[in-house]
């Protein structure tokens, strides 16, 4: 079987396995696995016959399984009703299920026959529903993975909570010292543990690689209820700064990858950031911590934090610093509310006792809701709401399309229904029959929708998110799909069913024409459809423009053709001047690489959004009132030229600003404005300092133009550029990124850059390489992602809406064939009739347009924060959308109108 075939088989098997879950337990347990296996074998047979044969098998199997599940449930229900689950002997009179079941079966049979009788119509309706349901299921599975699923590998996750600290803003990381206090004083939580994601350099054998790691306190694994697959986890006394060799627990992946899954690994020593650690255990395969954003492959004791962050060795001692995440397990039988109550009391004490904690709030949230930091989570919730709203609109349009198709069909089945009514079928029975048809149709659409969703998951999986998502059709997603399917069945089925069965049988038996009531329903459908459509066209237009503008946004610097490599020599023991020397060597030699045009160094990249803030004061005035918060960047002289940053005043940092020279700084315009306001003098020439007694003041020698410093639509942050050479002597420089602008494709430079670093010091590992372009794409991901998915969904809805509008108007018109015939017979000119019909269509559309535009304006508040470079009330978009829909409406009314007027009046009169 080919690769494509293999993935098709996987999907088909997954679908069947999911459908088996619909069956009652006794069936599932006895035969579930066999059903899937037999199906897989049959699928392989049919696949060899061709794609169509395989697809037919899947469709037949699915329908059969759904029916089997229903019948099995009925059987089980009957068995229970008889008060006995014993099924060894059938009673003498075979039980065929009673009246109700007979009726359901009969309805199912009729419904199936009716659907088969008009395959074109059925296919169109099922495909429409498949798109609507598929879009919803795909988006829901994304939301599920981001927001609803608890971390895998955690025992009894419902009783695990996360603790966040809020200090003025959104809840976020906590202080380790606070954690220590809480750990000892909270009785409602046991196994309270702190952890901190930490990149590590692992050397074993000859190679060094950068891995994701995690610093954890001793009871981390205990709190999460994780058991080692090999060896053991940490003892309480191993989370202390040790005199001897520290210990490490390996993640499953690393153990397999680097140590071949060998049990000999226990007791072996590995080098982490230059120091030997003894391996004591291996975590289980499914466990990857509790955060979506990190997949740790090694766990080291929290006490080793200073070793991994030599320039921030104080995090564990100072209450003023945040930086760790905290999880804990609720004590036996307690609820999260009880834990919150205790925490509130304890928090009040902390606030009273410690000045640094005076403004802190401590929050507990269930683990399930804590796989993202609260701030990120609330953004994701905002985006998810919007996405779900858009795909619900898509579904609404799809339902309205199908409702219209059913209405049209109900018209042609009037006589059949009337006969049934005359023969004694009550209205409830007729509605039941029609709804059964809708249900079958919805199930068809739902199954195909799962296939659509499965297909959509592939591009969704490839999204360049900052973390890997395990997207899949799990039980929750399937339940959602089922709910959407049933809901939409009612939505598109109920109205036509009630309509179709409303009238007394007699007139229809005689075959009298269209009722007075039905055009009103059709008109309502037209108005709804147009209203929802215009809303979606406006959304598609706005998000499409956002997507375009994001791609061509002016960032304030030249981001193309720049290769990047990040290193951190402090991990290998480099300090002070040695660090500066290594970096300047690197920058000089990188500029001389073949093809290189310019090169520079920076501690943080523009647009990456990860900068440190410093408090800066006017020289000699380190008081809290005069504190200015600036984001700092350490750079070398080549930095400005490499990025093409523009000078506004003064000069850039130059080679002469070395270790011994007068300390200097360069501000961006935002920072210059801030400084000028505080000092009440021009920023150029101002003297600032960081407030430390042993730190010299520095003079502002230049001001550069603003550029993007974080998220695109946020205003630029105030930036303070300091010469790397001058701060390196103070031991502040550790990790830096080398930027190399080249004449050609930047990634072609990367091997040469790596070789260059190896040449300078083979032990300094390269932490990351790439291009500035891709780095920026990464930081623009949220923007692109949201705009892209929204634009795609809205576009899909527009297509459905256009097709649906055509259908709705066409149907409304076809009912009037007889009327048009009469008018023609009475001498009306075809062109007048066409004009009349088109005018009526446009009038209805106009009403829908007004409603839809009003809706779009109301929703502008909701979508405003997701747009870039275009206003949520952009008049051009609104006008274009209205014009587009008016055109669709005109075409949709004109074509059928013309056709109707070409019909011979006599034929038209006969039609009903």
């Amino acid at each position: 079987m080919t690769d494509r075939g293999a993935s098709g088989a996987r999907f088909a098997t997954q679908l069947v396995r999911a459908s088996v879950r619909l069956c009652p337990r006794r069936y599932r347990d006895a035969f579930g696995a066999e059903v899937v296996e037999v199906f897989a074998e049959r699928f392989a047979d049919e696949r060899a016959q061709g794609l169509m044969a395989a697809a037919k098998l899947v469709a037949r199997t699915e329908l059969d399984l759904v029916a089997t599940a229903a019948l099995e449930h009925l059987d089980a229900w009957h068995a229970r009703a008889r008060g006995s689950m014993a099924t060894r002997h059938r009673p003498a009179a075979p039980d065929r299920g009673g009246d109700r079941m007979d009726r359901v079966l009969q309805d199912l049979k009729f419904a199936g026959r009716a659907l088969r009788a008009s395959p074109g119509h059925t296919t169109a309706a099922a495909l429409t529903m498949a798109l609507g349901i598929g879009a919803n299921v795909a988006i829901f599975s994304l939301v599920d993975a981001l927001l609803l699923r608890p971390a895998p590998g955690v025992e009894d996750p419902e009783h695990v909570v996360a603790l966040f600290t809020a200090e003025g803003g959104a809840p976020s990381v906590s202080s380790y010292v606070d954690f220590r206090d809480l750990e000892h004083s909270l009785t409602t939580l046991r196994g309270l543990a702190a952890f901190k994601p930490m990149a590590m350099d692992l050397s074993a054998s000859d190679t060094t690689e950068r891995i994701e790691g995690m610093l954890v306190t001793a009871r981390y694994f205990e709190g999460l209820g994780v058991e080692p697959v090999l060896g053991r986890f940490f003892l309480a006394d191993e989370d202390r700064p040790p005199d001897q060799t520290p210990v490490v627990v390996l993640g499953w992946g690393l153990w397999q990858r680097r140590f071949g899954g060998s049990e000999e690994v226990i007791g072996r020593e590995v080098r982490l950031n230059g120091r030997m650690f003894t391996v004591i255990g291996v975590a289980p395969a499914g466990f990857r911590g509790t955060l979506l954003s990190s997949r740790p492959e090694a766990f080291a004791p929290m006490a080793m934090q200073p070793h991994f962050m030599p320039t921030a060795g104080y995090l564990l001692d100072r209450r003023g610093w945040g930086g760790v995440l905290v999880v804990g397990r609720l004590s036996e039988g307690l609820t999260i509310e009880q834990a919150r109550a205790e925490l509130a009391t304890r928090a009040a004490q902390l606030r009273a006792e410690h000045r640094e904690a005076a403004d802190r709030e401590y929050r507990l949230s269930p683990l399930r809701q804590s796989s993202l930091l609260p701030e990120v989570r609330s953004q994701v919730i905002g985006l998810s709401t919007l996405l779900l709203a858009v795909v619900s609109l898509v579904l609404l349009v799809a339902c309205s399309n199908v409702a219209n198709l059913l209405l049209a069909r109900a018209a042609s089945r009037e006589r059949e229904l009337a006969v049934r009514g005359a023969l004694g079928a009550g209205r409830a029975r007729l509605v039941g029959l029609l709804l059964t048809e809708s249900l079958l149709l919805a199930l068809l659409g739902g199954s195909a929708g799962l296939a659509v969703a499965f297909g959509a998951l592939r591009p969704l999986r490839r999204l360049p998110l900052p973390f890997e998502l395990e997207l899949g059709l799990d039980a929750r997603v399937l339940a959602f799909a089922a709910a959407v399917t049933l809901g939409s069945c009612l939505l598109f089925g109920l109205l036509p069913a009630l309509r179709a069965t409303r009238r007394a049988p007699a007139p229809n038996l005689r075959g009298a024409g269209a009722s007075a009531a039905r055009p009103r329903v059709a008109a309502a459908l037209v108005v709804t459809q147009v209203a929802v459509s215009i809303l979606l066209v406006v959304l598609a237009g706005l998000f499409g423009q956002t997507l375009l503008r994001l791609g061509s946004a002016d960032l304030g610097f030249r981001h193309e053709d720049v290769a990047l490599a990040t290193i951190d020599p402090s991990l290998q023991g480099y300090q002070g001047p040695a660090t500066a020397e290594l970096y300047s060597q690197l920058a000089q030699r990188a500029a001389a690489l073949p093809g290189a045009v310019a090169s520079g160094l920076a501690s943080n990249l523009p647009g990456s959004g990860d900068t440190d803030s410093w408090g800066v004061f006017p020289a000699g005035a380190a008081t809290a009132e005069r504190r200015m918060s600036l984001e700092i960047v350490f750079v070398d002289p080549g930095y400005f030229g490499t990025l093409g940053l523009e000078l506004r005043e003064g000069r850039f940092i130059e080679p002469r600003d070395g270790g011994g020279a007068q300390p200097v700084a360069v501000l961006n315009e935002t920072a210059a404005t801030l400084v000028a306001a505080e000092l009440e003098r021009p920023a150029l020439g101002a003297v600032l300092w960081t407030g430390g007694d042993d730190e010299p003041p520095f003079e502002v020698v230049g001001v550069i133009a603003d550029s993007t410093t974080g998220a695109l639509r946020e205003p630029p942050a105030p930036l303070l550029h300091l010469p790397m050479q001058q701060v390196a002597t103070a031991g502040l420089v550790s990790r830096m990124t080398l930027l190399v602008r080249s004449a050609g494709e930047p990634s072609a430079q990367l091997p040469a850059i790596r070789a260059l670093i190896r040449e300078l010091d083979p032990h300094v590992p390269v932490i990351a390489t790439g291009t500035l372009e891709s780095q920026l794409a990464g930081s623009l991901v949220r923007e692109r992602l949201s705009a892209g998915v929204l634009a795609t969904s809205a576009l899909l809805a527009v297509l459905l809406a256009a097709v649906g509008l055509y259908g709705v108007l066409g149907t409304a018109l076809s009912r009037r064939t007889a009327e048009l015939g009469v008018r023609m017979a009475l001498g009306a000119r075809a062109v007048d009739l066409v004009r009349m019909v088109v005018a009526e269509g446009l009038w209805l559309c106009g009403l829908g347009l007004l409603l839809g535009l009003a809706g779009a304006m109301l929703s502008s508040r909701l979508i405003g924060s997701w747009l870039y470079g275009v206003s949520a009330l952009d008049p051009v978009t609104y006008l274009a959308a209205a014009a587009f829909l008016a055109l669709v409406a005109a075409v949709a009314s004109y074509l059928p109108a013309r056709r109707a007027t070409r019909v011979d009046p006599v034929t038209a009169l006969r039609a009903d």
């Binding site: 459908s19 088996v20 069956c23 006794r26 069936y27 006895a30 035969f31 696995a33 066999e34 059903v35 296996e37 037999v38 199906f39 074998e41 049959r42 037949r60 199997t61 329908l63 059969d64 399984l65 029916a67 089997t68 599940a69 019948l71 099995e72 099924t87 060894r88 002997h89 059938r90 003498a92 075979p94």
Partner: protein, 119 residues
């Protein structure tokens, strides 16, 4: 335990009879049952879900029983389950066949079928 009266199980549904007839010759596993049923042009077309629904009923009524794995594993380590007819199943199938024979005779008497003869 007194033997159950085979006639209490009549009439069988066509698909039930079909499964019993296939199993009358030899024990079969699910996949083979479907394949055989497909080949049998007079039979009812069956899908895997319904097949196991029927098997569940026949097993429950004691007309069919499991035969322990006979090799040919579908997945390594998991024996493929085969099903065989019990003696009660054979008696029921026989009774059903006799009943159908009467039906056929009645059909002939009513001239719905041509009298038996050499084709």
């Amino acid at each position: 335990m007194p033997a159950a009266d085979p006639r209490a199980f009549l009439p069988l549904k066509p698909a039930e009879l079909q499964i019993l007839l296939l199993l009358a010759r030899e024990p079969l596993h699910g996949y083979a049952l479907l394949k055989e049923a497909e080949r049998d042009s007079a039979g009812v077309s069956l899908e895997v879900g319904s097949l196991y629904r029927i098997l569940r009923r026949l097993l429950g009524q004691g007309l069919v029983e499991e035969q322990p794995g006979d090799g040919g594993a579908l997945a390594p380590g998991r024996p493929r389950r085969s099903y065989r007819m019990t003696s009660l199943g054979r008696a029921v199938a026989q009774a059903e066949a006799e009943r159908l024979e009467q039906v056929v005779s009645a059909a002939r008497a009513a001239r719905l079928l041509r009298p038996r003869g050499r084709a």
